[in-house]
């Protein structure tokens, strides 16, 4: 393919290790082992290659990126490469001293996950007792240093009622931005649809609340909102299109078009250990599989929205329809739309379905149900 524009953002999943075990973790169910993680030098090279390729924004993620001992070195290397460096963290593993070192290394921004607005909820969802308290302590340190802060509130049926408080907390913490992200059903969340699916009424109420809060806090708090997908009539856009704006490097060096791409079984991924990043971006079969619009079938092919949402999510089409090139079943034009809506209501009606927490990399492959 020619004329492929360079990517803007790269998500570096430094590790799949994490002290928390959220039931909606976006990591694949089969996680990379610590032994297979890229070493420091390889990450440093990848950051340099990314910057040379045109990446501007680097998101350091995981798992929990603070589980990597070399995090400060990696941040320094990313800044030296000229990348805007964002740390996506649960706060566990960050000490006051480590934050000071990250500050000195040039870390640009911190995005902090919020599992709930009190210890009860947050620690139950995260599966980590004491996690909420440590998070609140870390916020104080973050503010003392002055890092710009975004809160990421992952919303589902159990904590949707805490949205109001989450917004207040963002204001109290001086966060400039909050992401109100309704759970997307990839990775572990797919196993937890009964436990996590919001009801249709909740989804509507949340949308109204977000709209009101946006008005009320204009210029103070930016609210980015990801609505409940299964209840919608049109799918979410797939980034700026598959293989058009971003790429994802997994802990073991596989380069993925998106964090959930490993759920599409026929895709083959190249590794940064074997090929330069630029070559992978341009030539990898996984990136070219759904680039542009030529791969589309009907109804997307002749739809006026095809360059708006790019047919929705490939991973969702795979998970629900069993065909990654199908129209996202969320779409009202998909023959599966009605069934999905009914399925969503079913999931949402499962009252007290227990969480299936993610397990540690290398632990049981299938979580105990």
């Amino acid at each position: 393919m020619t004329g492929i524009a360079p990517p803007i953002a790269m998500l570096a999943e430094l590790t799949h290790r994490c002290p928390l075990s959220c039931p909606y973790c976006s990591n694949p169910v089969e996680m990379a082992l610590q032994e297979s993680e890229l070493d420091t030098d390889t990450w440093v090279r990848v950051f340099q290659e990314a910057a040379a390729l045109g990446v501007l924004q680097l998101h350091l993620s995981g798992g929990e990126p603070a589980s990597r001992r070399d995090l400060v070195t990696l941040v320094q290397a990313a800044r030296d490469a000229g990348l805007y460096t964002n740390l996506i963290t649960s706060a566990i593993g960050l000490t006051e001293r480590r934050l000071a070192e990250l500050d000195a290394a040039g870390l640009d921004h911190v995005q902090l996950s919020l599992q709930g607005t009190d210890a009860d909820m947050a620690d139950r969802v995260g599966g980590y007792r004491g996690g909420f308290k440590r998070k609140m302590q870390t916020v104080e340190w973050i503010n003392r240093i002055g890092f710009p802060l975004t809160l990421n509130f992952v919303l589902h049926r159990h904590n949707a009622h805490q949205l109001e408080r989450a917004l207040e907390m963002a204001l109290e913490m001086g966060a400039r931005r909050i992401e109100v992200a309704t759970v997307q059903f990839h990775g572990w969340a797919l196993k937890n649809r009964d436990a996590l699916m919001p009801t249709r009424a909740q989804a509507r109420a949340v949308t109204r609340q977000v709209e009101a809060a946006r008005k009320a806090h204009k210029g103070t708090l930016v609210i980015d909102y990801v609505p409940a997908d299964y209840h919608d009539d049109y799918p979410k856009r797939c980034m700026g299109g598959w293989g058009s704006t971003g790429l994802n490097v997994a802990p073991d060096g596989q380069v993925l078009p998106c964090h959930a791409a490993q759920s599409i079984p026929h895709l083959r991924f190249d590794r940064v250990q074997d090929k330069p990043l630029a070559e992978i971006w341009h030539n990898s079969s996984a990136f070219n599989a759904y680039r542009g619009t030529d791969w589309m079938a009907e109804p997307c092919r002749s739809c006026e929205r095809k360059t708006v949402d790019f047919g929705g999510c490939r991973c969702q089409a795979m998970a629900i329809v069993g065909d990654a090139s199908a129209t996202d079943p969320v779409c009202i034009k998909s023959p599966h739309h009605k069934a999905l809506q009914a399925q969503a209501d079913d999931h949402a009606a499962q009252g007290d379905a227990p969480f299936v927490h993610r397990t540690a990399p290398g632990a049981a492959r299938e979580p105990a149900e």
């Binding site: 360079p6 040379a52 640009d108 890092f147 710009p148």
Partner: protein, 91 residues
């Protein structure tokens, strides 16, 4: 943006020359905003001390263009940055 208001780039928002695309961009949390000539000219003058009025006057002399024109061309852009929290403004 009013003439007496003082814009400043907050921590975590910075100008960056994108060598690959050969363009100036404003890097901010989760965003990279491509800057046109006037956007870059204005933001390069933003120092957290001078007011919007002083900045537009300076640019008007530098580029030999009417102050009103510069203010009009850049005010909406700056307000949008302010709403995204990419620009702090004090009265």
């Amino acid at each position: 943006m009013l003439a007496q208001e003082v814009p400043a780039l907050p921590r975590g928002v910075r100008l960056h020359f994108d060598k690959v695309r050969e363009k100036w961009v404003l890097l901010a949390p989760e965003r990279a905003v491509t800057l046109d000539q006037i956007g870059h000219a204005i933001l390069s003058e933003v120092d957290g001390a001078r007011s919007f009025g002083q900045i537009t006057r300076a640019l008007s002399e530098k580029y030999d263009a009417p102050v009103d024109q510069i203010a009009e061309d850049s005010s909406g852009f700056l307000d949008a940055l302010r709403n995204r929290r990419f620009l702090d403004v004090t009265a």
